[in-house]
């Protein structure tokens, strides 16, 4: 039976078309797994020359690996068809057999392979003598088993929740929190001059982690080498207790998930939204107001749309403050303006095949343009608000009031031009968005990777190009005559607005002409 599970996993891997390249994609994925895992493993093996550092690094690494694996189902649940135990609920398989089968299947794949190679490298790195190598290998494999057991235990515990809308929303929030934490830490570390701070902090953390189960696996070989048998025994007991606890937790969660059906219709969210109940689509502006109200309601309720806006806020404030230096750093808010504008991208794909509701409701140019202006208005209101906060914070912190007119001009030009480019490309280069919403990072569907990449690149390029006049005037304001800052404040956004106006109308006409073909493309996202 265990062999059957292994065969199933191999079959699933063979049938996966995630990269849209068929068998070529699988070869690339395999090479990437071997390359990345092997590379990390090689780097870790080279730590063998500094045994004390190696032990602390491995304690950090092992604990991070177990934590990352455990959290992974929250971030990207459903990427592995063998993960969700409910898929096996109707098969006549006993729980212990199922658990062993799931363990074996979870150890097969590109990610486990990359992890295994990295861990085997770490085993060499932490082996102070070659006679210790068998023990360090066992410990490294123990880390991988611990990763899988705790990851699957959490996945089984939350399988009902993660299959629901609320569970996926929770996953989105966890994803964003992790991304924000990573972004803040990496930005701070990359820009900090006190490098010793990082190393000493990592060392302190490593010493604490040495008493956790994965950390203990890193230190057992060192204890054995030092003849500290009591300490080694204590750490081994911690490890064995963790395995026993994790296995029992997984078994309990598995049994529960196989015999319980969660309800997806209870405790629904309140319907209070931002839709103005008095607006009727009888003119361009009223259509735009109606659609903008719907868009903002969706942004409020849908984490898939809310998380990118939080990222805009994060990047808009952190990036100019941490990366850019001096009183001119406010100009870095241009990036936030561009990012905010990109939130209007792929508007026809955001609801997947839900586009049909608009297609059957109207077929006239006025409403088609009104719809796009509504999407633009929602983006400009929300993105503009975030941009205003970003500019204000950066200006106050950097005392850049003198540069404010130029900064506002450039940032608004970026916002308008990126919004226009995003809406234009929505109609001319549409592509599907995954509607399963298993991950905030999932942004393309198999077979449309090229369109998505082209659309993304085109969006940023078009946005930047349309923002150039404002940027040139701002540069003149900083280098030639300060009066140009005020010119940039007026002319930059005005030119970008005119460009946005033109391309929105062109895009709306394109939508009217090609709506069935756009629906055909974006509906693919329903099944991903």
């Amino acid at each position: 039976m265990v062999a059957l599970f292994a065969g199933l996993k191999f079959r699933l891997l063979r049938n996966r078309r995630g990269l849209g390249l068929g068998s070529v994609g699988q070869v690339i994925a395999l090479l990437l797994a071997v390359g990345i895992g092997g590379g990390i493993g090689l780097a870790l093996a080279m730590l063998r020359s500094a045994p004390e550092t190696a032990t602390l690094v491995m304690a950090n690494l092992y604990a991070s690996a177990v934590l990352a694996w455990t959290i992974m189902p929250l971030v990207a649940f459903g990427v592995d068809e063998t993960v969700d135990p409910r898929r096996f609920a109707l098969l006549p398989i006993g729980r212990p057999t199922l658990q062993r089968g799931l363990l074996v299947s979870a150890l097969i794949g590109y990610l486990p392979l990359a992890n295994l190679l990295a861990l085997l490298g770490s085993a060499i790195g932490v082996a102070s003598s070659w006679s210790l190598l068998p023990l360090t290998m066992i410990c490294a494999i123990g880390v991988l088993l611990m990763c899988v057991i705790f990851s699957r235990a959490l996945a089984a515990t939350m399988s009902g929740l993660l299959g629901s809308r609320r569970g996926r929303d929770l996953g989105m929030l966890v994803s964003f929190a992790l991304f924000a934490l990573y972004y803040l830490l990496s930005t701070m570390l990359n820009n900090s001059s006190a490098e010793s701070f990082a190393s000493s902090a990592a060392g302190s953390v490593g010493r604490v982690l040495a008493y956790t189960p994965p950390g203990a696996l890193a230190l057992i070989p060192a204890d054995v080498a030092d003849g500290a048998w009591l300490s080694a025994g204590g750490r081994a007991a911690i490890v064995l207790a963790a395995f026993a606890l994790g296995w029992r937790w997984w078994g309990w969660a598995l049994q529960r998930s196989l015999t319980t059906i969660g309800s997806q219709t209870e405790n629904s969210a309140s319907s209070r939204g931002l839709l103005d109940p008095r607006v009727t689509a009888t003119s361009l502006s009223s259509t735009a107001r109606l659609v903008a109200g719907r868009d903002m309601t969706m942004m409020w309720r849908d984490p898939m749309r809310r998380m990118p806006l939080l990222m805009v806020a994060l990047v808009g404030i952190v990036w100019p403050l941490v990366v850019a230096r001096g009183s001119l750093s406010g100009y870095a808010c241009l990036f936030a303006g561009l990012l905010a504008g990109t939130q209007a991208g792929t508007v026809y794909a955001i609801e997947g095949s839900g586009l049909w509701l608009h297609m059957v409701a109207f077929g006239d140019r006025m409403r088609a343009r009104g719809e796009l202006w509504g999407h633009a208005a929602a983006t400009l209101v929300v993105g503009g608000s975030l941009l205003a906060v970003s500019i204000l914070v950066v200006t106050i912190v950097r005392d850049g009031w003198v540069h404010l007119p130029g900064v506002v001009g450039v940032a608004l030009a970026g916002l308008f031009s990126a919004t226009g480019a995003a809406l234009f490309l929505s109609a001319y280069v549409p592509y599907a968005l995954p509607q399963s919403r298993t991950s905030m990072f999932a942004s393309r569907v198999p077979g449309q990777g090229g369109r998505a990449a082209g659309g993304g690149l085109g969006l940023m390029a078009c946005g930047l190009i349309a923002a150039i006049p404002g940027g040139v005037l701002a540069i003149l304001g900083e280098s030639v005559n300060p009066a140009f800052r005020w010119v940039a404040l007026v002319v930059g956004p005005a030119l970008a607005w005119i460009a946005m106006w033109q391309v929105i109308n062109i895009a709306a006409d394109r939508y009217l002409d090609r709506a069935p073909e756009i629906l055909d493309l974006v509906a693919v996202g329903d099944t991903v």
Binding site: G273, P277, T282, M298, G354, W356, M359, F362, G363
Partner: protein
């Protein structure tokens, strides 16, 4: 059957001429001609893969035909989409809704997007939610609706602007019996008022019970159409007639002998 669905003095509710669709080399719908009389309850039946959903998608303007035309009450669907869309209500199969709106919000939004007055939208939405037994779920997000509730809220959206023609793709598929009864009652009342319903279904008993007319679609072609009694002919039921029309193969013709045995 008229040759120009759009030009007659009293056009049919739906006229389809030489409607065809190919996906690459594969021709899924092969030049369909069809007239649906005003006031009829018209069933479109056929085995899986016969082309029912593709045909309905082209009729409703959601899929561009490779060839041919569609007229709704004499209005060209692809030539005059503004008037045509006002004249039809659509319930497609398997397409998403605006999941993060509540049922009430969805109806309100779509009604106002069509340009209906706010008071009209509010009154009709309330009545539709009430009749379709969705009043208690009006404030729930559509994402949390069951299959039956989704069918009912989509039907409500299709009825909201009171169109003369309803086009429904598998309206009772995967719907519980209570919801199915509610939907059937609403549709029968709608036709009794002189309007027209076209629905596709796999369930022959349902078509026989509800429909006045039926068209049998097989391999992208209409192989029989007319009043239900005429299509049924001498057969014991529409199900039997359908079975013979599409050339079904009985189980007695071979295979699965092991199912008739009590041994493993």
């Amino acid at each position: 059957m008229s040759t120009q669905g759009e030009s007659t003095a009293n056009p049919p509710a739906l006229a389809v001429r030489r409607l065809a669709r190919a996906f690459g080399q594969k021709v899924v719908v092969k030049g369909i001609d069809l007239d649906v009389p005003v006031g009829s309850f018209y069933g479109l039946v056929g085995p899986n893969g016969a082309g029912k959903t593709t045909t309905l998608s082209m009729i409703t303007g959601l899929l561009r035909p490779s060839d041919g035309g569609v007229w709704i009450h004499g209005i060209d669907v692809w030539g005059d989409p503004v008037r045509a869309k006002a004249a039809m209500g659509v319930l497609p199969d398997g397409l998403r809704l605006f999941e993060r709106l509540s049922g009430t919000e969805l109806l309100s939004y779509l009604g106002r997007l069509r340009g209906l007055p706010v008071e009209t939208v509010n009154t009709r939405s309330r009545e539709l939610l009430d009749v379709l037994d969705l009043s208690g779920a009006g404030d729930k997000l559509v994402a949390d609706y069951s299959t039956g509730m989704r069918k009912k809220i989509t039907l409500a959206a299709a009825l909201l602007h009171s169109p003369p023609l309803l086009l429904l793709d598998e309206p009772l598929e995967a719907v519980d019996p209570v919801s199915a009864r509610v939907i059937r009652d609403v549709l029968q009342a709608y036709v009794a008022g002189g309007r027209t319903v076209v629905l596709s279904s796999h369930v022959m008993a349902l078509v026989e019970e509800l429909c006045t007319h039926v068209a049998v679609l097989n391999d992208g072609q209409i192989v029989a159409d007319g009043p239900v009694a005429q299509i049924r002919g001498e057969a014991a039921s529409l199900d039997d007639a359908f079975f013979h029309i599409v050339g079904g193969r009985a189980m007695s013709e071979g295979g699965l002998e092991w199912l008739r045995s009590s041994q493993d």
